[in-house]
């Protein structure tokens, strides 16, 4: 029996956590920007924002590889500063963030659109700037939905495999997340290690679902009241 290498757990948690943070900010900004606009151009915008959700992760990974590779537009700029993204830890974050972004964007937008516009208008007549209207009125009222989106994004980032493998590869101790460790364990016929990772994934996922349930049902009395009526 060999010593189990726990690094995939930490890599997975660090990757998902960092990716979720980026996704939260970007998804919220995109949702806030989009929620106050209408028109045919928005269909195109939605299409672009939601593409990572409908495309197979390998395709997303392939595009990211083109973008961040040595000859890609972003890759060249980064190389200029002496940084290489492909097959490094940041690559796992980028892959996870891009794949999780649509979930954050969709839930945050739905939550923001649910906010009664009268609250926002009342805030405006009281002299609040648009930033204050968003931060002090819209965001707190949409918070349960935004939080649910955050948890979903974290879960999606945690399960990310295809795009991560394309962009970050499998470097044990650096880019090998739990899903990648499972894949390579099975490939190496190490069923016991694969089983341990799978069980750990189940535990983390159940904890996330419990958090989701808690935040959307217990912490938001407004919604609970709706349900009771």
């Amino acid at each position: 029996m060999t010593q189990v290498d726990w690094s995939p757990v930490w890599i997975s948690l660090a990757t998902s956590g960092t990716a979720t943070l980026f996704t939260l900010v970007a998804g919220l900004a995109a949702a806030a920007w989009r929620a106050r606009r209408t028109g045919p151009a928005m269909a195109v915008v939605d299409g672009i924002f939601l593409l990572p959700l409908v495309l197979p992760p390998t395709v997303v990974g392939f595009f990211l590889l083109l973008l961040f590779g040595r000859n890609g537009p972003l890759g060249r700029i980064l190389l200029h500063f002496g940084a290489t993204i492909v097959f490094s830890w940041p690559a796992t974050v980028i892959a996870a963030a891009v794949v999780a972004f649509p979930l954050m964007y969709l839930t945050a937008r739905a939550a923001l659109e649910q906010v009664d516009p009268q609250f926002l208008q009342a805030a405006r007549t009281l002299g609040a700037s648009e930033w204050r209207v968003f931060r002090e009125v819209a965001l707190p009222l949409a918070w349960p939905g935004v939080l649910a989106g955050t948890i979903l994004s974290f879960a999606r980032a945690l399960g990310e495999f295809g795009a991560t493998l394309m962009l970050a590869g499998n470097t044990p101790g650096r880019t090998a997340t739990i899903p990648i460790a499972i894949y390579f364990a099975v490939e190496a016929d190490d069923i016991r290690t694969a089983m341990i990772w799978c069980l750990i994934d189940v535990v983390i996922s159940l904890a996330l679902l419990a958090g989701l349930y808690y935040w959307t049902n217990v912490q938001s009395p407004g919604r609970a009241r709706w349900a009771r009526r």
Binding site: D116, Q118, Q121, T125, L126, G127, V137, L141, G222, R225
Partner: protein
């Protein structure tokens, strides 16, 4: 004039085309639903943009589409009371009231919040959340919040419609108190003529997006300029007329000739009388049966409210099929005096109570 409004806006159902100049003090805006009342307030508050027009408040131009001026809502200093209060549910009443004065020093904020809580009679509720207080208390907090920014004008959108009868009269007293201490324009939108009359000094009747009447409330109720205004202000009885002489008309739908107190103009096409102005010759203040504008009437049916009776009367003959009925309102006390008497009774349509309107 402290408030000058002249705006036009096309909407899906109708177009709003309103212009008026109002004094300081409460102005009631009366209209049926969909007449454009709320849209008018929203345009003044800066929440909706008219297609073209001009709004000037206390000498400050808030909107002038020709000059390209459009002051955003947050800079208009117009206090708006929303129909469903729109109190922020995640903030306490005190935080709600302080929302618009957060740029002030904390002690000044606290002082003003305390003063407003007192003025709206909700002292002690500042730490409660909106869902923890009654509808009337929410309404008061919303009023305090609008007053906190020391607005240049106060706009109230159906402030009493969401309250039950008891709370409504309390809130009415609150609003009267507030208006008395507010020396600036206050616009109150309602579809209820009694509310409009009790709370406003001036009255603006809006119909289909246009001003149907604007002026002193007594004058509008006494001599409504059109049938529409008469109807919106609660008049139930109308008849087509044909001018007969300088001060008599033939009421075609009521089968009678009426004497009126004002000179009959050639354009007169309808006559109206309010249900509570119909007198009964045998009883009450009216004189004998021989007096002018007294006609025999027969009771077709009646409907009872807690304190009043509404009587549907046919003039000149017993009720037949498809006739025009005159609707009269009498107190229960009076009704007890003559309700049992044999028909016909005699109604008196006092010349002073009749008003003529063009078609």
């Amino acid at each position: 004039m402290p408030l000058q409004v002249q705006i036009a806006k096309s909407l899906a159902e109708f177009s709003l085309d309103v212009s008026f100049a109002s004094e300081s003090g409460p102005l009631s805006i009366l209209g049926s639903s969909g007449a454009g009342k709320s849209m008018l307030l929203r345009c003044i508050a800066g929440l909706d943009r008219p297609d073209h027009g001009q709004i000037v408040l206390n000498g400050r131009t808030l909107l002038d589409t020709e000059k390209g001026i459009q002051v955003p809502a947050r800079e208009r200093r117009v206090g708006m009371l929303f129909q469903h209060y729109a109190l922020f549910p995640h903030r306490t009443l005190g935080e709600n009231i302080a929302f618009g004065i957060r740029h002030l020093a904390p002690e000044e904020q606290a002082r003003r919040v305390a003063e407003l809580l007192g003025r709206t009679h909700i002292t002690g509720l500042e730490h409660r959340y909106p869902r923890e207080v009654s509808g009337g208390e929410q309404q008061r907090a919303a009023l305090a919040r609008a007053l906190a920014i020391e607005p240049e004008a106060l706009l109230l959108d159906e402030p009493l419609s969401a309250l039950d009868t008891h709370l409504r009269s309390q809130m009415e007293a609150q609003l009267q108190e507030t208006f008395a201490a507010f020396p600036r324009p206050a616009l109150l939108v309602t579809h209820n003529i009694e509310e409009a009359y009790r709370l406003g000094e001036q009255l603006l009747v809006l119909s289909g997006g246009r001003v149907a009447a604007f002026g002193e409330k007594e004058a509008i109720l006494r001599y409504p300029p059109t049938v529409e205004v008469a109807r919106l202000t609660g008049c139930k009885n109308f008849s087509r007329v044909r001018p007969v002489s300088e001060n008599t008309v033939e009421a075609l739908d009521w089968n009678c000739t009426l004497r009126v107190s004002r000179a009959v103009e050639a354009t007169a096409a309808h006559v109206g009388i309010r249900a509570n102005h119909i007198e009964f010759a045998e009883f009450g203040s009216a004189g004998g049966v021989a007096e002018e504008n007294v006609f025999p009437c027969w009771l077709a049916r009646s409907s009872e409210t807690p304190f009043r009776m509404t009587l549907y009367l046919s003039l000149q003959g017993p009720p037949g099929f498809g006739e025009h009925f005159l609707q009269a309102e009498v107190s229960k006390e009076k009704w007890r005096l003559f309700g049992e008497k044999p028909l016909p009774w005699h109604v008196r349509l006092a010349p002073d109570s009749l008003f003529l309107m063009p078609s």
